[in-house]
Amino acid sequence: MFEPLLYHLRGQGVQVGLQEWMAFQKALKGGLAATVDEFFWLGRALLVHSEAHFEQYEEAFQSAMAGHEVSESLKESLAAYLENPKAWEELRAAGEHNYDKLLDLLEDFRKTLEEQEKRHEGGNRWVGTGGTSPYGAGGRANQGVALGRTPGNRNGIRLPESMNWGVYRTDKTLSLRDYKIALKALRNLEREGEEALHLDGTIQKTANNAGDIEFVFERERANKVRLALFLDVGGSMDPHAQAVTQLFTAAKDLQHFKSLDVWHFHNCVYRKLYRDYDQWDTVSTEEVIHNIRRTHRVLFVGDAAMAPWELFSSYVPSAPCGLDWLRRIRAKAPASVWLNPDPERYWKHPTVEAIGDVFPMFPLTLDGLRDAVRKLRSPV
């Protein structure tokens, strides 16, 4: 029942699995939702696993429960009637519908809408204004589905709570802490360094042996991952400066990597990279590539959009062009990704697509960064 909610949720990118859906059905059958509000809460508790998806849930709930069920013409008629609401009291007495379960009500509502061809006024069955039918606006049934009072409002069902969940969305915004959590996943702990006696292990082993002493040695754990950031600066990247700075700060603050190198470039990587763009402190790209090791994880951040000649050609014929440099870095560092701060709808651009062929490209959002980190952990 209520499959539209499932499909609207999945349509919003919330991956609801069958397991959760079945639990939801079981809860509904068990009578856990007696009102619209409880239905809303129950669905959210069981189908959504993160506050990041609350906004999508509200949207899906609205579309599934009302939006596409109530036709435009019906809503217009309702709006017209709302100008002229009927008197409450005389109608109330007749409107004693005893829907103990919300489910029956909504299901009936949906069926009624399907059957209904035109607007109604009064009466006890059809959706319309006034009357004692449990659906519609201005009606006086004691229970039922309230249709929006604002003309053109697309939701018939009032949400019990609509906070600004947008701030929790992970496909849009990022805070410094989010960057850190995402980058933290980039680790490859390996035991290295001096062997030391592991006292607890030794005691445990010795006791297991019923008193025959057995020593346990252990090396300390250290993160072997080296991180290299290649950041595009200036020009079209200016609007994204804050996002890039945050990523940079997060990587630096973490002190989590064996080494952290940050290189800057403008538009694309050419013969030289900048240690510090403002100071024109440069280093040869050749040298940087030479120093990339197997344990390096490489993150490019840039919008990848430029004039085609900036990527595909070089001043000196026979010298490598921008794309060649990128390919060389990719060949040396298979664990490399490109983060693009521009929304994905702008990615249909020749240079963006060409770079996307070289590096797996992800949007610079929390979801994108997580996907990118996952890719870096298992590059092949």
């Binding site: 639990a23 809860a27 068990g30 856990l32 939702a33 809460w41 993160s50 609350f54 445990q204 006791a207």
Partner: protein, 271 residues
């Protein structure tokens, strides 16, 4: 409404509407309830309130970064056993005597349905929640040392809290009922204050709330003060007899609200 045992707000805990639905769904479906939210919004308190409201014993497991899933189930004290065998104490032949149940084991073996609080699960290793999947699904675990399976006599109500320090694995999330405790709106905060400080002076409360929400609106804070800090702050304000006007003109006892030195400097430096 239902035949299930159900949880309500009570005299010691004020729950927002959705939270009650989530708790009751978790109880009825016998699934763990995962509670997330800013630190200090009452996640741990919830478990206490649920236990109290349903009259169930509460068993708590504080997860630490070194915690392993098996610690929650049971521990086998071989060292004690060896010691006993050397000095001829205790019954060394019975391994059972050296198996100690962890919080999960205790909750499974409780003769009454219990509330099991797994506090701050995100403090554990990334794989920690995955190691508990089977135990939470089947409510049973094996103890190979004594060749026995411990299964729950009464499936406990499991409440898991997380501060979102780490992402939790999908497989784990799918098995949970999820609730996010958002920061309370002013009217709910008033109810919460009424529970903790029924005698508080209205002017003082209004002034303190005004100040508090004003501080929370500042974006530059590294750690925004939350409900528990606010309650502590009220405690100090009421105890010291500061006048309501002083709260607005100065910022007394700022350190109770703002724990980070930089935050303190950022706010008091201006005020």
């Amino acid at each position: 409404m239902t035949a299930f045992e159900s949880f309500q707000s009570n005299s010691t805990y004020v729950a927002e509407d959705g939270l009650i639905s989530s708790v009751n769904a978790a109880i009825a479906l016998e699934r763990p309830l995962l509670v997330k939210g800013e630190p200090g919004t009452g996640k741990t308190m919830l478990a206490h309130a649920v236990a109290e409201s349903l009259g169930m014993p509460l068993i708590t497991w504080h997860v630490k970064s070194t915690s392993k899933a098996i610690d929650g189930l049971y521990t086998y004290d071989v060292v004690q056993r060896l010691n006993d065998s050397r000095f001829g104490e205790g019954d060394v032949s019975d391994i059972r005597g050296y198996i100690k149940m962890g919080p999960v084991g205790q909750a499974f073996q409780s003769d009454k349905r219990a509330v099991l609080l797994i506090d701050e699960i995100d403090k554990g290793d990334i794989e920690f929640p995955n190691d508990l999947l089977r135990e939470l699904d089947e409510m049973a675990f094996d103890v190979p040392e004594i060749n026995e399976t411990i299964s729950a006599t009464h499936r406990p109500v499991i409440i898991i809290t997380s501060n979102a320090e780490k992402e939790l694995p999908d497989a784990f999330l799918r098995r949970c009922v999820f609730h996010f405790i958002s920061f309370p709106k002013a009217e709910i905060l008033r109810d919460i204050v009424a529970v903790h400080h029924p005698q508080i002076n209205d002017d003082l409360l209004e002034a303190a709330m005004q100040r508090f929400y004003q501080i929370r609106r500042q974006d530059k804070l590294r750690k925004k003060p939350s409900t528990s800090e606010f309650i502590d702050w009220l405690n100090v304000l009421a105890g010291s007899g500061v006048a309501a006007e002083t709260i607005l003109s100065a910022f007394p006892f700022a350190g109770v609200l703002l724990k980070q030195e930089e935050d303190l400097r950022a706010i008091t430096g201006r005020a």
